[in-house]
Amino acid sequence: MSEKIAFTIDGVTCKGEKGQFLVDAARDNGIYIPTLCNIPGVNPKSCCRICTVYVNGLPMTACSLQVFDGMEIINDTPALIEQRKIILEALFVEGNHYCPFCEKSGNCMLQALAYRFGMLAPRFPYTFPVREVDASHPKIIKDQNRCILCKRCIKAIKDEKGRSIFAYHRRGNKLRVHIDPKLALALTDELAQKAMDVCPVGSILVREKGYRVPIGQRTYDKMPIGSDIEVKK
């Protein structure tokens, strides 16, 4: 049996197990720590920093930090909320996010986090970068305008031989996530759908599947992201 651990989040006593990641332990205790690049059950890469909390006074990413006994966590403060908003706003201006016609709108984690943290307009100037849309593959479309380079697709979407279908290409502000054209040919319908679902934004789209769910019934139309975790409290 795994070792039990006690810690606090914003002064609330929580219980967890040794080796558990903080976001998962918090979730079990009905506390939502926002995540974007993290996929539960997949080795965390900590690239978006949205899950940053203060642990005994130091900023750390809750998706990659394993809980230990007696840790004191600060998660919900005006300063942390502001930091999270800054990350979100930077992501919005860094790409081209036209939510009004995006197929992921209503089911998009980036948008949902912006709703939750009250972003109305980003404080940074829009960059309107020139990015390509790769529609050359039979099952999926890769829209680079919306890619936030979170690596979720790279980590989670592999073929039956364990080969990655998505990969980083180039560096710096030229960095893109590309699809391996040969592996994309062999993509099954299930894996294509999984890729679209694993992408937190609308950068991976399955052809002819957009706009199926009417406005009002989409994932984040009625309730803020994280509220499903908070009801457990």
């Binding site: 036209y98 939510c99 009004p100 016609f101 709703y115 100037p125 309107f128």
Partner: protein, 182 residues
């Protein structure tokens, strides 16, 4: 106390945000009791005749005329609101932002599949016409904007609640469903 004065304008928008203002339905009657309209396409007053309390801007800036109108609004309105995605981030018109302006004009007036009658191959160049800007700008990148009401279009309830809150000085109690980017 005299009624607060409201002005509205549609810049590079589709008029959908104005339609959403009208979408407050029968609340249009209490609205007329609450405020007086000045320069606005709703009452067709073309020039400011007094200082306004609230200016509501739909659409971003795609040409020199939009910039001129927006600056006039900033001058004449105590509070300026960006209404909708086009005003806030450029919206659909900003899709041209990655395309050089010459290419846009060529596609629209010379080479587009629906161009049939431009036999003299003229690009509009009359000095009466507003100049296109190099790209479409969100309003807050041109003048200071005080409040943002997102949506495409913003929900009528959002517009109504925000206006009433501003006018009565009460805090806005916005339900989650009304702030959306689409």
């Amino acid at each position: 106390m005299s009624k607060p004065i409201v002005a509205t304008a549609s810049l590079a928008g589709c008029f959908g945000c104005h339609m959403s203002i009208l979408d407050i339905d029968e609340r249009i009657l209490p609205l007329i009791d609450l405020v007086e309209f000045n320069k606005s396409p709703i009452d067709d007053i073309k020039e400011f005749t007094k200082t306004c309390d609230i200016g509501i801007i739909e659409g971003g800036c795609c040409n020199s005329e939009n910039v001129h109108v927006l600056k006039e609004f900033r001058k004449h309105c105590k509070i300026l609101i960006s209404l909708g995605e086009c005003a806030i981030m450029g919206g659909l018109p900003a899709l041209r932002n990655g395309i050089p302006i010459g290419e846009c004009l060529k596609e629209a007036y010379l080479e587009g599949p629906t161009v049939k009658n431009n036999v003299h191959k003229i690009l509009p160049n009359d000095s009466e016409l507003p100049m296109l800007l190099d790209r479409v700008y969100p309003c807050h990148e041109i003048v200071k904007i005080d409040y943002f009401l997102p949506g495409c279009p913003p929900r009528a309830d959002l517009i109504w609640d925000a206006l009433v809150a501003l006018i009565t000085g009460k805090e806005m109690k916005l339900p989650y469903e009304v702030i959306k980017f689409d």
